[in-house]
């Protein structure tokens, strides 16, 4: 298979990513095993990284963005599982060398579909349970609301935090924020299945637990990334934004 990128030898030194450049969108490095990808099956997942030539070939060229999708299946699964753990606080160090946007895009897309589908099913089950009506009606508007809400939240909130932190002088990385917030939504996919149970009190319990877990994941990771006490308001705000998303999901889709 032909190699359309200059393949530089992989550096196996951890911490070889320099912090010198602010403008990491354009100088992000994602070379590595592209040409040897089929053969090197024993590389540890997080050491693809080293500083290499600028891969940015323009906004409209797909190859400029492949650097943000340079992950394998096991890496993605590892990041998904670590997003279920609310106490870690070390997510940024796990993704530092190789943040990916695959998680953001497909976790949020899965969540949109799951909310639209299971929201309809849950409404039907709740109506059957309380005996008001037993006919199935499918409201396709759920899809629109789900898409706007989830995509809007997942894209705008990290963007806002990025701009806010840049303004406050702290060095933030938009891709890492998008990556972290994207993976933080994955726990809602599981809880959506649990929210099918048509018992109102149980539904609230589930969503509160999920919301708190997801929000503390976001807050603890944000705390590990932001130094300084003046920005702790931002961390608290992130916590409550995630809780607000959880409550919105419950109220709109699983009423």
């Amino acid at each position: 298979m032909e190699d359309s990128y200059t393949g530089l030898p992989t550096s196996h030194l951890l911490g070889s990513v320099p912090a010198a450049t602010n403008d990491e969108n354009n100088t992000a490095k994602q070379e590595g095993d592209r040409g040897r990808g089929y053969h090197t099956l024993d590389n540890p997942p997080e050491t693809f990284e080293q500083q290499s030539a600028n891969n940015w070939r323009g906004v409209f060229s797909v190859s400029s963005y492949t650097q943000y999708f340079n992950v394998d299946t096991d890496v993605v699964i590892f990041r998904l599982i670590s997003s279920f753990n609310p106490y870690g606080g070390d997510f940024f160090s796990k993704i530092d060398a190789n943040p990916d946007l695959y998680g953001l895009i497909w976790v949020s897309t899965t969540l949109v579909f799951v909310l639209a589908a299971l929201g309809n099913l849950a409404t039907y089950l709740m109506q059957k349970h309380t005996g008001t009506s037993t006919s199935w009606s499918f409201d396709v508007g759920y899809m629109n609301v789900a898409a706007c809400a989830i995509y809007g939240y997942a894209i705008v909130v990290p963007l806002a935090y990025y701009f806010f932190l840049q303004y406050m002088g702290s060095n933030a990385s938009l891709i890492r924020f998008w990556c972290m917030w994207g993976y933080s939504l994955s726990i809602f996919i599981i809880s959506s299945f649990l929210l099918l149970i048509p018992v109102e009190a149980l539904r609230w319990l589930i969503i509160i637990l999920t919301g708190v877990a997801s929000a503390s994941f976001v807050a603890l990771n944000l705390k590990s990334c932001i130094e300084g006490n003046e920005l702790s308001v931002a961390i608290v705000a992130a916590f409550f934004l995630q809780i607000a998303l959880a409550v919105f999901i419950k109220v709109w889709f699983f009423a």
Partner: protein, 203 residues
């Protein structure tokens, strides 16, 4: 006196129009409409047979859909949107919009996903293939529209979903690095499951 011999009579003896040469006949612009339609239809059918039904070329995806086209996918997507829209009792146009948007945007996004993961495919060939793989779901949607029984719908959709996924699998999985196969295949599966759910859930 030397007279210029008459040129041998050709089936279509007009001067050649230097347009794109889609096929062996140079004057596709001047042929009867029925010939064009028949040629496109036969290409659609042969592509369909290559993609959706078992055949010896399946393991080599590049060979399988060498003569790709976009008419087939267009018909299948529109047909699926129309079928879902007919099956719906309320918000018919919104259902069509959601179905069409999901499928069309989905095909583009799935192709981009493979390209972003470092895979090697041709953009339009992939769109074509994903469109052809909708054929089983079209059949399923038609059956579900005609017979409105939930259990039957679930069974039909599961069968056609599995068929569609089976059709798309060799192409998508061979396009990327084997360590990323699941990352490329999962979105395809997600799209087909969401379409399948729409088919079952439309009342």
């Amino acid at each position: 006196s030397a007279s210029v011999p008459a040129p041998p009579p050709l089936p279509s003896s007009r001067p050649e129009i230097a347009a794109s040469g889609f096929g062996p006949a140079p004057n596709t612009l001047t042929e009867p409409v029925w010939d064009t339609v028949k040629r496109d239809l036969s290409r659609i059918i042969s592509n369909l047979k290559l993609v959706v039904f078992p055949n010896p070329y399946r393991e080599d995806p590049g060979k399988a859909l060498r003569d790709w086209d976009l008419w087939g996918p267009f018909f299948f997507i529109v047909f699926l949107g129309l079928t879902l829209s007919w099956s719906a009792s309320v918000k018919k146009s919104e259902v069509f919009a959601v179905a069409f948007g999901l499928l069309a945007a989905g095909a583009v996004i799935l192709t981009l996903n493979v390209l972003l993961l470092g895979g090697h495919i041709i953009f339009f060939q992939s769109l074509s293939l994903l469109g052809y793989c909708l054929f089983p779901l079209d059949v399923g949607a038609l059956i579900c529209m005609l017979k409105d029984n939930v259990i039957l719908k679930i069974v039909v959709v599961c069968v056609t979903l599995a068929w569609s996924s089976w059709a798309a699998y060799p192409f998508m999985s061979s396009a990327v690095n084997p360590r990323r196969k699941a990352l490329a295949l999962y979105p395809v599966f997600l799209m087909y499951v969401s379409v399948g759910f729409l088919i079952i859930a439309i009342d």
